[in-house]
Symmetry: C2
């Protein structure tokens, strides 16, 4: 198996997630790419700092040239943040033909022209899915999922910190300072929260999405950006009275050839999908001229969700680098890894159940129902009894069960439905609490 040699810049939260994911999913990644993806080198600000994960074969240095000057390194993953050094890393990697993956939205937004033009010039393989909305594959949805559409709108909640604060303010009536303090305690906001609460991070991400969605390079300085620091509880309360939720929205649309883009707190009607995105989650709404609206929702930050986006780019770009035929096999796995798989028989499935019995209204019925269910290992979570309209007619008894085996439920109902007090076959519907 060919080894793909990776050099990583930054071993913080996301870097650690990437190291873990490549280790934990190694066999699966081999089956999907036909290669072995191995991080051989890391460059970090403080090479002697202990890390909360096993480094394995990774050699660590403080010198960027340790990776950039190594012709053996195929792929560079940049997770350091900041603009100056990160830009140098990207530009030099493009020149030397290395595949590049970055999560650096500040760099891509503030230096969009320089970075993207260099990527085009050198026919670089460049992935930046992790720069926007964590695990949500929004860049892939725009570039590939809506590849046939003229995109008319991009909007979203793409900063988990600001959304966490607004959600706290909204659900607990807290003011901005208190909600921010709590977010900082819980690790959802940084000690200096400026970029998140002033909308800068949202603006960085929106600008990246706009460049792809509307086919061009925009100037970050032209993007109107307003944060959430001036939102007061009274505004949240009044808005709620009118059926609105206040969200920090990044939104851009193209109308008649003109592109409008802006980041600011926005009153969103509470029945809209975006209004129900709470806490640290992100959501992005895209509209294409044929697709109509598409909303994608998921975790917008954190070690594992962001690593997920980095590694998806890695798989995608390695498939493009290495494939001589189709970069994406029909079922994603390489041919030789494809297998026939058996489904678990329905009888072995565990579920919760809704059971509606139609029974004669007489003493002892309830006891008999529970007894038979119990004897089949089915325990009851809740129960109601409902009388029907006609006097003396059958009544409904409804049970919600705890998790039980399908086989046991089928057997129990077979027995129960033959009892004399059962008026109609029992209605069983499965319940999915997750």
């Amino acid at each position: 198996l060919k080894q793909i040699k990776i050099g990583i810049f930054g071993l913080g939260t996301v870097g650690g997630g990437v190291v873990e994911q490549l280790r934990e999913n190694r066999e699966l990644l081999k089956a999907r790419t036909g290669t072995d993806l191995v991080i051989l080198k890391a460059v970090v600000a403080n090479p002697s700092k202990p890390r909360p994960f096993d480094l394995g074969p990774i050699e660590v240095s403080g010198d960027p040239n340790f990776i950039l000057d190594d012709p053996e390194i195929d792929v560079v993953i940049e997770l350091m943040g900041g603009v100056t050094l990160a830009k140098e890393i990207l530009l030099r990697s493009f020149v030397s033909g290395k595949t590049v993956i970055t999560a650096n939205k500040a760099l891509l937004a503030e230096c969009a022209e320089e970075v993207f033009e260099a990527a085009y010039e050198h026919h670089a393989l460049l992935g930046f899915e992790a720069a926007v909305a964590g695990a949500i594959p929004v860049i892939r949805v725009i570039k590939e999922g809506l590849a046939g559409d003229r995109i008319t709108e991009v909007s979203g909640i793409i900063n988990g910190t600001a959304n966490y604060i607004l959600t706290s303010m909204s659900k607990k009536g807290e003011d901005f300072q208190k909600a921010l303090g709590k977010a900082q305690e819980k690790g959802y906001a940084e000690a200096d929260p400026t970029f998140d609460v002033e909308g800068v991070d949202t603006a960085h991400k929106l600008l990246v999405l706009m460049c792809i969605a509307f086919g061009g390079i925009f100037d970050f300085k032209e993007l109107y950006t307003e944060g959430i620091t001036k939102i007061e509880p009274v505004d949240i309360e009044i808005a709620a009275g009118f059926g609105y939720v206040i969200k920090l929205l990044g939104k851009a649309k193209e109308v008649g050839g003109k592109v409008e883009g802006r980041v600011h707190p926005t009153l969103v009607p509470e029945d809209q999908m975006l209004a129900s995105v709470d806490g640290a989650f992100n959501a992005v709404k895209l509209s294409g001229n044929f697709s109509g609206p598409i909303v994608s929702y998921g975790r917008g930050a954190g070690a594992r969700p962001t690593a997920s986006a980095v590694v998806a780019d890695l798989v995608s770009l390695v498939r493009q680098r290495e494939s001589e035929t189709s970069p994406v096999p029909p079922l994603s796995l390489m041919s030789e890894k494809l297998k026939h798989r058996k489904l678990m028989p329905m009888a072995e499935v565990l579920s919760e159940y809704y059971l509606r019995f139609s029974v004669e209204d007489k003493v002892g019925v309830l006891a008999e129902l529970t007894r038979v269910l119990g004897s089949h290992n089915i325990s009851i979570a809740s129960m109601i009894q409902r009388s029907r309209s006609e006097e003396g007619g059958p009544v409904f008894v409804v049970f919600f069960t705890h998790e039980a085996l399908e086989r046991d439920v089928v057997e129990a109902l077979k027995t129960l439905d033959q009892l004399p007090f059962i008026a109609q076959p029992t209605r069983m519907i499965r319940v999915d609490p997750s």
Copy 2:
């Protein structure tokens, strides 16, 4: 510009959508693929039937060999449905090296082994995004967006007809037969609705998703499938009382190496994302071992949304066929089409506004506020006045405006905030009703 020659099987609803999309978005598709995508031939059951769209240069025949035997045709799009002929079309196209796009979930599910094994054997470029969940790029999200993740769960509402009927039953208290009749009247259900209401269509789609998500070929006959025909209004009502909505769910998960898959009506807690998917919309929830949950939502059927998925596959596969470097350029457009774009100045943006004035509680204030707003072309949609806790202190007057120009609002507030009865600077928050 190289021309990509396309042969299409089927010119019904979706076929018509594809013809229109290739025409309407032609220049954009050139910019994204560096090729000109042209349908030259169509094969339909009844070649003389008039079509509600302009055929342009498309030659129409009733003989499949008209396309299959033409070595000039690069790409075959199969939108006829049915299993026997469609399978022959796919298999023969693989053998002759044609790129294939299909929306045929019945074929892919019922003949999964034969079709996918042939695709692998011939290194075929095969796209089937349109087979599941219309415009939602769920196949791409699994194959590429979650390419680095072990997928643990796939579940979703992937049949719009059944969901439309359940939504009607739930919102209007109708019974199944009545809701079905209305769905048929409105064109959401076919004259023979068996596949939709018995869960077969959902099962077809789930099986396709399972093959990609869990890396293997499953047997459609093993998939437990139960429809919605036995759901009664009383069950919907009782479920609602316990905080649940009844949905036709397709769900599969992998636990400890075993895969469980099933299609049946399910009680879903009403605060879950999937519970709020109403009418003809679809939604799919995916979970990866690093990504966490990702929910994608959009239109699950219809001419334009389904065409959107077909054309996205077309772009993706043509990029793979034709590209010598990266199949997906960094910003999606070909280099020479990339341009610098100006943003619309914020002053020219149209929005609705929430304006909260803090004013002294005296006569004439409201009149003056409305007068100044009116003189800046800002009209009021609704208004409330709120007294503050302290007696004699300032009161809040809140206006929701109709759409107005940002410049006008900024100017109006500049004037208003200098008036003597204004106690604090006015809070302005933009409102997005869409």
